[in-house]
Each structure stands twice: as C-alpha cells, then as structure tokens.
C-alpha cells in the first residue's frame, strides 16, 4: 500500500518535471524572446537587444537558465514580468485567489446538485425525470461556455435585469465586493460542471443498482430506500471523486473563456493578456502553476479513491 502511494506520488512529480521541461523548451523554440518583444520586435537595434539580454541573463546556456527557473519556481520565485516590471508571484497571487473564489462557489453549488440529480436520474433511469435532466445535461455539456454565458447574460441581465452581466471589480478587491457580480459566472460554471458530474454519477448508480449484492439485499428483504442509502450509494458515489477532481482542475485552468466573457479578473484572463502581450515569463509561470495544480488534484483524487476502495488497492498490487 505504502509503496504504491509513493509510486503514484513519484509519477506525479515526474509529470510536473516533464511539464516544466515542455513549457521551458516550448518558449525557447518559439521565435523571438522577451527582449525582442520588449523592444518592439525587429526595430530594436542590436546593441540595445544585447544589453537587454545581458540584463535578463538570456545569453546564458538554456540548461543553466532552466535550472535557475525551476529552482526559483520551487521556492515560489517565478521571476519578473517583462512588461510590468513587477514580480510575477505578486501579480499572480491576487488573480489566483480570484480564480479560487470562483471555483469554490461553483463547486459549492455544482457538486451537491450533481450528486442529487445523478442519483435521481440513475434511480429513475429512462423515466421522465431522467429524460428531462439528461437532455438538459447534454445541452449544458456540449454548448460552448461562451454561448451559454451569452444566453444567460441575455436573459438575466439584459431582459430581466436581475443580475449584473459583467464584473467591474478590480483584481485585489475584498471578496465581499465581488457580489452580486460573481453570481452569473458561478451559474455558468456550475451548469457545465453539474452536467459532467451528474452524467458520471448517473452511470455509476445504474451500474451499482444492477450489481449482484444489491439484488442480494433486495432479495433479503432490505427496504428499498435503506438499501439505496446504505448499500448502493456509498459505492456509486466513489467514482465521482475522480470526476470532481478533473472538474476542479478544469475550473482553475480552463475557465479562460468564461473569465473573458464576464471580464472576471482571474488567472485565465491574465493568461490571455500575457499571451497577447507575449509576456513569456508570465505565460511560463501560469502554465506551470495550472499544470501543477492539475497533477496534484488528480493525484489526491487517485489516492482518495485508493484509500476508500479496497478493491483498487489490491488491483494495483496485483499489477
């Protein structure tokens, strides 16, 4: 058990190291560097370019710079931004907190709702509640986020005027100032999330309800709801941990479009801005943060399911 956990953690760390290599190599390979960008592309004269490269240590060999960057990142020092001439860790901090805030509320709404709907649709499979909710889920999952966001803004803020359709609060403001502006982005996010998790929960409920031990319990005469709550659901909800983990990772990294639609000052919008400005150090930093979070969350979810599910433990051992 312990060796398995350690092995899994080691694999996670290996993935993060490879990610950092890919990010660094990717930025290296692309034409142009921070200095050509900073000094207005091609018009910069050679001397200035050289001086800038000296200042930013860009003339040293790539592997030295990679080691320095990676070690710096480990201690929380992500380097300096090219454009703002500010420490990236300071810039990212507030944005990251905002993205966390958004993700937290979306999870708070989405996960319980998804569990509930998943169980309902799973237990009443192919009957009216299932068909209604599953159809809505297909729509929520497949329609691009910017489309559903636009529609919700149209309905709730343009026609009904209930909620503000755009976030005007600046990045460093206290949490309370984000209300009620944060509500529509939260609704859009939790809509997509609920749909994904619900489908997963539904299929696992169906699977568990068809299993032998549930039939056994039914034959033994266990009352239906007691059987559902005590025997079926604990097992059915377990696989949801992994989906929720994937969704959290998506919430933190992939909400770029939603943050742009609502003008929300989170990590995603910062990423888009950095890419448009070709502020490569910031792009590298955000990429590394998001990828690390993704790996860590997946790792946690895997470990949690391993601990909660004895079957998986032995299955890995046998392998």
């Amino acid at each position: 058990m312990l060796t398995m956990i350690l092995r899994r953690i080691f694999l996670g760390l290996a993935t993060i190291s490879i990610v950092s290599l890919i990010i660094f190599a990717g930025v290296e390979i692309l034409p142009g560097d921070a200095c050509t960008q900073y000094l207005e592309q091609d018009q910069a004269d050679v001397e200035l370019l050289e001086k800038c490269r000296d200042d930013l240590n860009l003339n040293r060999p790539a592997h030295e710079r990679y080691t320095e960057w990676a070690l710096g990142a480990l201690t929380g020092d992500l380097g300096m931004s090219v454009n703002g001439e500010a420490k990236i860790s300071d810039l990212v901090g507030a944005r990251f907190a905002n993205s966390l805030l958004l993700a937290f509320f979306a999870l708070l709404v989405g996960v319980p709702l998804a569990m509930l709907l998943g169980v309902i649709t799973g237990l009443w499979r192919d009957r009216k509640p299932d068909i209604i909710f599953s159809t809505i889920a297909i729509f929520a999952m497949t329609i691009p986020e910017f489309v559903s966001a636009t529609l919700l803004i149209l309905v709730f803020s343009v026609w009904l005027g209930w909620l503000p359709g755009i976030v005007l609060t600046s990045a460093g403001s206290p949490i309370s100032e984000f209300f009620p502006e944060i509500l529509l982005p939260v609704i859009v996010l939790s809509l997509v999330m609920t749909a994904h998790v619900m489908r997963m929960v539904r299929s696992s409920v169906i699977e568990v309800m068809a299993s032998d031990y549930v039939q056994m319990a039914t034959l033994k005469g266990v009352p239906y709801w007691q059987m559902v709550f005590r025997h079926a659901l604990p097992n059915a909800l377990l696989p949801a941990i992994n989906v929720v983990a994937l969704t959290i990772a998506w919430l933190l990294g992939g909400v770029v479009v939603i943050e742009v639609v609502f003008n929300y000052p989170g990590l995603g919008r910062m990423m888009i801005d950095a890419i448009s400005d070709r502020d490569l150090p910031v792009v590298q930093a955000i990429a590394l943060i998001v990828a690390s979070i993704y790996v860590c969350i997946n790792l946690t979810a895997d470990l949690m399911t391993m601990i909660a599910n004895p079957k998986l433990r032995t299955m890995y051992l046998r392998k």
């Binding site: 729509f139 691009p144 990294g253 888009i272």
Partner: protein
C-alpha cells in the same frame, strides 16, 4: 484509408450498413445525423443561396431589427446577419473536418504502436502525454497561434497536433485490451511482422473505438475553434464565423439582442448534432463510453 481497405470485405461492409441503420433507428442518431447533414449541405451550398453579400455594409441598417428583408436583422456594420449565419460555419467545418481525421490518424498510430511495443519507451511516452494533458488546451494553442498567425495553415496542424495527444491514450488502452486476446498471440506465433499485426489484427479491432473517439474529438475541436474565434484568435474578419459573430454582437446586446440569436442557434445545433451522432455511433458499435444516457 483503413476503412476503404476494410469495406472491400463484403461482411465488413454489411456491418457498417447495419451500424448506420442502427444509428438511424435511435432518436439521438436520427436527430444528430440530420443536424450534421443539414449543416454540411448548408456549408456547401450557402455561397450560392445567401440573399446578401456577407461583406456588404449598409450604414442605414446598422443594428436594425429583424424585418422581411433581413430576417435576423443587421449587425453593427449594417451587414445582413441571416446571410452571415448561413456562411458562418464553413470555415469551422473546413478546419475541423481536416484536423479531426489527422488527429485520430496520428494519435491512433502512435497509440497502437506504443501499446504494442510497451516497455520503458512506452512509460516515458505516457508521462509526456500526461504532461501535455495537464496544460490547459487554450494556453497551448494560443501560444502557437500568437507566434505563427491565425491562418488555416496554422490552425489545422495546431488543432490536429493537440487533439491527437489524448487519442494516443485511448488507442493505447484499446490496443492493450485487444493484445490480451488470443488471436494476437496466434499471429505472433505464426511469425507475422509487427506491421502486419498492427494492420491485420489490431487496427480492425481498435478502429471502432477510434471512430467513436474521432466523432467526439470533432465536437470538442469545433468547440475549441469557435472559442478561439470568439476570443479573436481564430478566423480573421470580415470572414463570417459564428464565434466571431457572437463576440461582435455581444457588445450591443443591451439594445440589439437579436444579433446573437442566429449564430448561437447555428453553432449549438451543429455541436449538439455531432454529439448525438457520436453517442449513437458508440451505442451502435457497442462501445461503452461510461455514459449510458437515455435515447
């Protein structure tokens, strides 16, 4: 290519006809296929049948309401939204229509190859795949697009490359499932070469999974493409594109809300159509996508 090779065999061809019929007998397949077909036909004939030129600007019509002459009104430059909506999917369908097969082809090939080989190299490749998957798609793509431009010659390879990576995983897993069965051992024992085993034993058995995967990839790619357009990194104006149109019309939504309706309905119906088709295909081929949805 591989499908053509397979359909030479009458039994296989019959199976594909049966799968198609099965799909059409399911509500999801019937709705999905007709939506996809409708959009494909529209994309082909729309340049001939649109009532107005998509570039034609008429200042007097700026943000005007839907009328008999302009069914969906006009946008902020006074261009006919109905014509632009009809044309708005062509670029998206062209790009994703080329990039999807490319992605499935290279991802599938690499996945099958490494699934068959296994060993240390396979282990390393999977870590690289994991690493790529842990980066948000939009970041990977934008970095390339911002550097190399937004032309088709950049968008197609970029989409094909990044969407092929998850296919490697799927193809590898499917290959592992097939390898465990006796006929691959039998072929190895008969002394068949690796290429022959891939082509004759693995590919026909992995192909079903790859086709379903391809259909799903198509809808995700379309989503990615239109999101890129929406963010201003996709099609360049004045080419009509749904993502771009929604992004343009969004700014005027408080007084001209009809501008977003056309592209929203068109884009959603195509993506839902592809998804329903993929679902029906998976069911008709008997592949469990762990999502036993009704219909």
């Amino acid at each position: 290519m591989s499908t053509a090779a397979l359909t030479k065999n009458p039994a296989k061809r019959q199976r594909y006809v049966a799968v198609l019929l099965d799909m059409m007998n399911r509500p999801s397949g019937a709705i999905g296929l007709s939506l996809v077909l409708f959009h494909l036909c529209l994309a082909i004939i729309s340049p001939v049948i649109v009532p107005y030129d998509f570039k034609l600007q008429d200042a007097s019509l700026m943000l005007s309401q839907p009328s008999n002459a302009h069914w969906l009104g006009a946008d902020h430059l006074g261009r006919d939204i109905f014509s632009r909506t009809m044309l708005g999917g062509r670029e998206a369908l062209l790009v994703t229509g080329i990039a999807t097969p490319l992605a499935v082809l290279w991802g599938g090939f690499v996945g099958i190859l490494f699934g068959l080989t296994g060993g240390r190299l396979d282990e390393i490749l999977m870590r690289i795949v994991d690493a790529f998957l842990s980066l948000p798609w939009i970041l990977k793509m934008l970095v390339l697009i911002v550097t190399f431009g937004t032309g088709l010659e950049v968008l197609i390879p970029t989409l094909a490359f990044f969407y092929g990576i998850p296919v490697i995983r799927i193809a590898r897993a499917a290959t592992h499932d097939v390898i465990a069965r006796d006929f691959v051992w039998a072929a190895k024992a008969r002394g068949h070469s690796r290429i022959s085993i891939i082509w004759r034993e693995l590919l026909p058995n992995v192909l079903d999974t790859l086709m379903v995967e391809g259909a799903m990839r198509w809808s995700w790619m379309l989503l990615a493409f239109s999101s890129l357009s929406f963010l201003g990194f996709g099609v360049s104006p004045p080419t009509p594109d749904w993502g771009l149109m929604i992004s343009d019309a969004r700014g005027y939504m408080s007084f001209a809300p009809w501008g977003v309706i056309g592209p929203v309905v068109a884009l959603s119906s195509l993506i839902i159509g592809i998804n329903l088709t993929a679902d029906a295909l998976a069911k008709a081929l008997g592949i469990d996508r762990a999502q036993k949805a009704p219909m």
